[in-house]
């Protein structure tokens, strides 16, 4: 296939930045959280299911945290209630961390790409 003489060649791709290391670090985070292709075998199904379930729990946990913070900011919680709520959410976070370690999942693994809607978390 020869290039038509009337058509200027497209420039070679260039990457232009003064902050290479910073971008490599940030883009690695994004790449690591991309969903891998699913191979249907017993092991990967189990891992995929654990990841999906933990992602949904993480999503709900964050919603609960936000709701608790809103209520705290709204001033409708006594100091005792704030302490109690905070402790409950702290335990929930610790428990989820334990489960993540059990299944060998990192924080960035717990997300879902919802296509045009964006990412779940």
């Amino acid at each position: 296939m020869e290039l038509s003489p009337n058509k200027p060649p497209t420039a070679e791709p260039e990457i232009d930045t003064s902050h290479v290391e910073e971008f490599v670090e940030q883009l690695s985070c994004v790449t690591n959280s991309l969903p891998p292709r699913i191979n249907i075998d017993a092991q990967s199904v189990e891992e995929g299911l654990a990841k999906l379930v933990l992602t949904l729990i993480e999503f709900i946990r964050r919603l609960l945290e936000k709701q608790a913070v809103r209520r705290m900011e709204g001033g409708d919680l006594s100091p005792e209630q704030i302490e109690e709520l905070g402790l409950a959410l702290m335990k929930l976070e610790a428990k989820l961390q334990e489960l993540k370690e059990q299944f060998g999942l990192a924080d960035e693994d717990l997300n879902l790409d919802l296509g045009p809607v964006g990412r779940l978390i």
Binding site: T10, A11, P13, E65
Partner: protein, 244 residues
């Protein structure tokens, strides 16, 4: 024997080459031209049913094949790892002829440029809320969460403003755009712009000027690339056949 599919384009004059040497595909496979309807597809014969593993070499080989036709025409790239039977591929292309033509019309004469923006400043300060030394661990935990949530909301708002500013700066040269905001704590904006080939130099110049206006932001500009972001061909393929 199945086919590994790289991209679909309008009629191609022949097989792609780089400096007169044929471009090699995944695992060094020969790249063939498959003509279906009015389209040309670049494919390789592929042993096995599952997709090739995602390795650096395979990803670069896929990208090299797609990029090799970019000088002649703007292709619609398939997602990495698309493996199908030939009759399945022919059936897909025939059934989706009009939609594929419409997609090619959208990207004709264009390339994809990518802009990623990182905030150069540290996390925004969040005002404290009645924090005292007497607070227990539960209250301190909630206060820390409040700081994180508010910081995240501020970053999200800032990302929206930066995306709007970017659009204002280069919008004249952009035919289509896909923007995602706040992908990580620091990466605020990742934009893909579909730009007419003859406008790429002006687009770059405009972006260079714009970058000088915002020294607090760190930019990564790359391209021209084939229009991966604007093809979305893999999604349609999966929807139709339930495979990829």
């Amino acid at each position: 024997m199945k086919l590994y599919v790289y991209c679909l384009a309008e009629k191609l004059g022949g097989l792609p080459s780089i400096h007169a040497a044929p471009v090699l595909g995944i695992s060094g496979a020969q790249v063939d031209l498959l003509k279906v309807e009015d389209f040309a597809l670049l494919v390789s014969e592929f042993d096995g049913d599952s997709a090739p593993s995602v390795t650096r070499d395979n990803a670069l080989a896929h990208a090299a094949v797609v990029a090799s036709v970019l000088n002649e025409t703007t292709p619609l790239p398939f997602r990495f790892g698309t493996v199908v039977a030939e009759d399945q591929l022919r059936s897909y292309v025939t059934a989706r002829r009009e939609a594929l033509k419409a997609k090619l019309d959208q990207v004709r004469g264009c390339v994809e440029m990518s802009v990623k923006i990182i905030s150069g400043s540290d996390q925004a300060d969040v005002p404290q809320l009645n924090e005292t030394d007497e607070q227990g661990p539960g209250a301190r935990f909630l206060n820390e969460k409040r700081r994180q949530i508010l910081g995240s909301e501020r970053r999200s708002e800032e990302a929206k403003q930066v995306a709007a500013w970017l659009k204002e700066q280069v919008g004249t040269y952009v035919q289509q755009e896909e923007v995602s905001l706040s992908q990580t704590e620091k990466l605020m904006v990742a934009a893909a712009h579909l730009v007419a080939r003859e406008q790429v130099a002006k687009y770059r110049d405009q972006l260079t000027m714009a970058r000088k206006m915002r020294p607090e932001l760190h930019f990564l500009v790359s391209g021209p690339w084939p229009p991966y972001t604007f093809s979305n061909i893999e999604l349609e393929f999966k929807t139709r056949f339930g495979v990829s």
